[in-house]
Symmetry: C2
C-alpha cells in the first residue's frame, strides 16, 4: 500500500491543531481545483490571476500581486506561464515605462471561461460536508480569519 497523507484526525484540543487543519484544508482545495483545471493546462494560481484580470483589466504586475496575495517574483513566473501559453499579454505602459500593462488575450478569456465552468462546483463540493446553513457562514468566517482588520 502506498504511503499517503491525511488518513487520521488529530486530537481536537491540541493547541497546534489549527495549523495542521488549515494546511490540510488548503491542500484539499488546491487538489480539488487542480483536478478540474489540469485538462485545461492551468493550475489554481493561473486561474486566480486570470480571474482578477477578467474583473479588472488591465492591471500592472504589482497590482496583480496585491490581489492574489503573491509576491512580485511569483507574479513574474505566473505571467511567464500565461504568456507562453498565449493566454495573457505584457505591454509596456505608455505613461510609465517601468510598468507592464497586463491583459488577457481572446484565447485567455476563452480558457478562463472554460476554467470557470469546470470549477464552478468545486467550492460546493469542498463545503458539502458542512451543514447547508453553515456553508456561507464558514466562508464569511474564513474571509475574516484570512484578512483580519
Amino acid at each position: 500500500m502506498a504511503q499517503k497523507r491525511g488518513e487520521i484526525q488529530l486530537d481536537q484540543s491540541s493547541v497546534f491543531a489549527i495549523g495542521l487543519l488549515l494546511r490540510r484544508a488548503h491542500t484539499r482545495a488546491v487538489q480539488a481545483f487542480g483536478a478540474k483545471l489540469a485538462p485545461l493546462g492551468i493550475e489554481l494560481k493561473h486561474f486566480a490571476v486570470m480571474g482578477v484580470l477578467v474583473a479588472d483589466e488591465p492591471l500592472s504586475q504589482r497590482q496583480i500581486g496585491e490581489r492574489v496575495d503573491s509576491d512580485k517574483v511569483s507574479v513574474v513566473r505566473i505571467l511567464d506561464d500565461l504568456e507562453a501559453k498565449g493566454l495573457a499579454l505584457r505591454t509596456s505602459s505608455e505613461t510609465d515605462r517601468r510598468v507592464k500593462t497586463i491583459e488577457l488575450t481572446p484565447e485567455g478569456r476563452k480558457v478562463y471561461r472554460a476554467a470557470h465552468r469546470a470549477s464552478r462546483g468545486v467550492e460546493a463540493t469542498l463545503l458539502e460536508d458542512l451543514r447547508p446553513a453553515d456553508r456561507d457562514r464558514f466562508m464569511v468566517m474564513l474571509r475574516r480569519f484570512a484578512h483580519p482588520e
Copy 2:
C-alpha cells in the same frame, strides 16, 4: 516601501477565492506559531510531533506521520531535528526491528511544556477577529472541512 503580501482582500464571489483564503489563513497560523516558538528553537512542525508524542508515547514514525498528516520522509527529517537537539530519541523496536520506537527525552518534555505555554494564546489571537460565539463554530467547521468523511 518593501514589497509584501497580504494587503488586499479579493473579490468575495470569485470561485477561486476559497483556495487563496485558505492559503492566507494557513500562512497566518504558521507565522503566529512561528513567532512564539522561535525563541525555543523549534517550529510548528516540531511542536506538533512533540504534541502527539506527549499524548500517545511511544509511537513509530509511521504512526507519527498519520497523526500529524505528514509523509514518512518529512517525519524522518523532523525527527532528525528533534534528535539533534536532544528532544527525542529513536530506538529500534524489540518486537519488530524495522520500526523505530520514538520517545521524548526529559528535555523534550520540558521544551514541549514551554512551547505549550508560549503558544497557549495563539489560537485565541488568530480567532480574535471572529465574534466570540463564532470561534468554536469555526474550529468545528474547519475540522470537518479538513477531514470530511
